[in-house]
């Protein structure tokens, strides 16, 4: 059995992308800075993307 290779294109695992968007990437503040009482709303939104009860609708 060979190593399974999951690409980073259409077939990527959403959880792998969300982990990288939450924990990585360069943070340069653009003109939309979303925080509510110091909490990053996009961080919360990304966590919700993975919520067990939710199934993401394709784009």
């Amino acid at each position: 059995m060979t190593v399974q290779h999951i690409g980073s294109g259409e077939e990527l695992a959403l959880v792998d992308l969300v982990d990288r968007l939450i924990g990585g990437g360069v943070v340069v503040h653009g003109d939309v800075v979303l925080s509510l009482a110091g909490v990053d709303l996009v961080y919360l939104g990304l966590r919700l993307v993975l919520a067990p009860a939710h199934e993401v609708v394709g784009r």
Partner: protein, 264 residues
């Protein structure tokens, strides 16, 4: 260099930065089919897309950031562009949102963050990121135990089985640690992240390793040779290796600002 016209009905989304001179083969389209364009300042260029302000202005972000059906497609399209770019040139991916009112604001960001972005690009020059995960796909066979005859025999056999399982767990942990070490040796930088919560990953098999590796493009073959060897070595212990990538180096974007400490 074409200057983009000012347009109050649009906003610019920045996917990341690339070395201005190197990145000539851009994906044709990005989010919502918008062309992927460059905004250059000196040796840096931001990868941008011009988006409809009605759909991606600040008030919309505020309202929809908590809507997975809105955010997930955006994140996927963001990655689609970056994933295509990283196969051809170095790129530092941005977190989302990366929205700018106009091209001038993007230039301002590039000027203000020039040192950080230049150092960041330098630290990932010639590299891509690969994800490595190890899953427990089969348990090792329990030794058949003689049928206990007395209560004491029963308790002893249960205790022996528990001890054997614990030793199995410890041995597996050592094996996974060794595997990570071998793969890290074939990488420039490596980081071991917490295994993903199965409720989020939707994987039933336990995840024993969740690591990211920054690997030179020119060293991809030896990296995969090590990964294949690890996969073969682990198969006897009921474990399997999965690789994802190539990723733009999300997990190593902090190299410019932090002192990176490789995991042992």
């Amino acid at each position: 260099m074409v200057t983009m016209a000012r347009d109050p009905e649009t906003v610019l989304h920045a996917y990341g930065v690339v070395p201005a001179a190197d990145c000539v083969d851009l994906p044709a389209t990005g989010i919502d089919g918008s062309p992927v364009e460059l905004v250059e300042v000196g040796e840096l260029a931001a990868l941008v897309g011009r988006l409809d302000a009605v759909r991606y202005g600040e008030d919309v972000w505020r309202a929809r950031a908590q809507d997975p059906d809105w955010l997930a497609p955006f994140a996927l399209q963001h990655q689609e562009v970056l994933g295509a770019v990283v196969t051809a040139c170095d790129v530092l991916p941005f977190r989302i949102p990366g929205m700018y009112d106009d091209e001038g604001r993007v230039r301002g960001m590039l000027e203000a963050e020039r040192d950080l972005l230049t150092r960041g690009l330098e630290s990932v020059r010639g590299h891509v990121e690969w994800g490595v995960q190890v899953f427990l796909i089969g348990t090792t066979e329990d030794e058949p135990v003689p049928r206990p005859r007395t209560g004491r025999d029963y308790l002893r056999s249960r205790s022996e089985q528990a001890g054997s399982r614990q030793r199995g767990v410890e041995e597996r942990q050592r094996t996974v640690l060794d595997a990570y070490g071998a793969i890290a040796e074939a990488s420039t930088h490596s980081v071991a992240n917490p295994p993903q919560d199965p409720a989020l990953s939707k994987r039933r098999e336990p995840m024993l390793l969740n690591s990211s590796h920054l690997v030179p493009r020119t060293r991809e073959a030896p990296f995969f040779a090590v990964v294949a060897q690890v996969h073969a070595d682990l198969a006897g212990s009921g474990m399997a290796v999965e690789v994802s990538g190539p990723w733009p180096p999300y997990s190593f974007a902090h190299l410019a600002t932090e002192e990176l400490q490789d995991q042992p």
